[in-house]
């Protein structure tokens, strides 16, 4: 019988995470190479926005990831509260910096794109503002986490904060539909009568998807790698870490 909870113990998760890190890191590098090649050379020039639209291939995945990572982080935080597992809150902690990075990339590339298209680096538009709030939420999460010395209390307090902040995610996601703002609507729409409606060429969609998966795998690899360090740090006094470190040294 495969036991899911077997891996909720840091000691058994550590080697598994090590193997997964290599797997996802390789996958992400390959996909990133393909995705970047396609986005620069294969995807056709957009008839309206010219070459400048190519920044979308990093902007959209980054924006998606910024929201998704927050939701995943909140789920881990919730799991940590419900089952009181150490690993869950470690996962939440390890996801936060990557999420903040993607939020920042989304804002930054959006600004680079906005300058030639809208003629302004920054517009006080609903989506932009709420994405900025998301960045603040990440920063607040990390600040609270690092302000509390006791790791267990830090994990629970920041977990609660993550859960409170999750309210913001649907607001960002639907902001384009709720408020008619400058930011263009989603190009991929799942809502219309079950079918997926796509208003871009197929090759662009594929490039976008590949880039998204590249970002996704990158996140998994980085987060797992970070959680491995956190595990070693927090469990430094336990027997298995000591034997592990001894083995590595000799």
């Amino acid at each position: 019988m495969f036991n899911l909870f077997k891996f909720s113990s840091p000691a058994s998760f550590y080697p598994l995470a090590g193997r997964l890190v290599t797997l996802f890191a390789i996958a992400s590098v390959i996909l990133l190479a393909i995705g970047l090649y396609m986005s620069f050379f294969v995807a056709p020039t957009d008839y309206k926005q010219g070459e400048g639209y190519r920044i979308m291939f990093i902007h959209v995945p980054a924006a998606w990831m910024s929201m998704l990572i927050y939701v995943v982080m909140a789920c881990w935080a919730a799991a940590g509260m419900i089952w009181n597992t150490r690993l869950s809150s470690m996962m939440a902690t390890s996801l936060a910096p990557t999420g903040a990075m993607f939020t920042f990339i989304a804002l930054w590339t959006g600004a680079l794109w906005g300058k030639p298209m809208w003629g302004a680096w920054w517009v006080w538009d609903a989506r932009l503002t709420s994405e900025l709030i998301l960045l603040f939420l990440y920063v607040g999460f990390m600040a609270l986490e690092s302000a509390i010395d006791d790791p267990r209390r830090a994990a629970r307090a920041s977990g609660l904060l993550a859960l409170v902040g999750v309210v913001n995610i649907p607001i960002i996601y639907y902001s384009v539909q709720w408020w008619n703002t400058l930011h263009q609507g989603s190009t991929i729409d799942f809502s219309k009568g079950g079918g997926v409606e796509i208003s871009m060429s197929e090759i662009m969609l594929w490039t976008l998807l590949i880039m998204t998966f590249a970002c996704w795998f990158y996140t998994i690899a980085v987060a797992l790698n970070r959680v491995r360090s956190i595990i070693l740090e927090r469990e430094a006094d336990s027997a298995w870490v000591k034997t592990l470190l001894k083995g590595a040294k000799s």
Binding site: A143, L160, I171
Partner: protein, 213 residues
């Protein structure tokens, strides 16, 4: 519960908050210049931002005094649910820091040249909005209880959560001034208030438990 309110009354907290509010609002005309038209357009936003900062000023003291003299630990042991006690404390906080702001706002609005109708709207949005500020702030205050540099941290945690209230609150006044009607903004704010009223005391109670472990 009422004695908490009474205990919090004989302090200079109220005056500090109100004067902070007035000073921040007065700083804006000095900063941007006395252009009457510009000030009139900015009025709602300025008053709202000042209210946000003023209500945050007293947040750190929401639980801190009880925490230091040990009352809070006693309150955890009381048979009544903790969220109810938190709600009482939040209500007390709102009465000493939120309500005076609401009462002062028409006067400040007048200084910015707002008309009667807009003044009423400003007061109404603040009346709905400031309890939300106190409720959300309680979560932040409870989370940062007894931490180094808690005051700065509270602002970092709480301000992002305040933003929706700010947008709808100031938006209601602006759209009312432009003659578009503010029902949409007002009902959204009402929804936020109800949601915060249900969830925030519970979340702050959980945060208090974490902080007092």
């Amino acid at each position: 519960m009422r004695d908490l309110t009474l205990a919090m009354r004989h302090r200079s907290d109220v005056l500090t908050t109100v004067f902070f509010f007035i000073i921040v609002v007065s700083l804006f005309p000095l900063g941007v210049g006395p252009d009457a038209q510009l000030l009139k357009e900015m009025a709602a936003g300025v008053v709202w931002v000042a209210a946000l900062l003023a209500s945050m000023l007293s947040l750190t003291r929401l639980f801190a005094d009880d925490y230091h003299d040990g009352t809070l630990e006693q309150l955890l042991l009381v048979p009544q649910p903790l969220s109810l006690i938190v709600l009482g404390k939040v209500l007390a906080h709102w009465i000493i820091s939120g309500l005076p702001l609401v009462l002062m706002s028409p006067l400040l609005g007048l200084q910015f040249g707002l008309e009667g109708d807009a003044l009423l709207m400003l007061m109404l949005t603040l009346l709905i909005g400031t309890p939300v500020l106190s409720l959300l702030g309680a979560i932040g205050a409870a989370l940062t209880l007894g931490l180094r540099g808690g005051g700065v941290l509270v602002s970092l945690l709480v301000l992002p959560l305040y933003i929706p209230v700010l947008i709808f609150g100031a938006g209601a006044v602006t759209s009312n001034a432009m003659g578009m009607g503010a029902e949409g903004h007002l009902s959204l704010m009402g929804a936020i208030l109800l949601l915060a009223l249900v969830l925030a005391p519970w979340a702050s109670a959980a945060a208090l438990r974490i902080s007092l472990e």
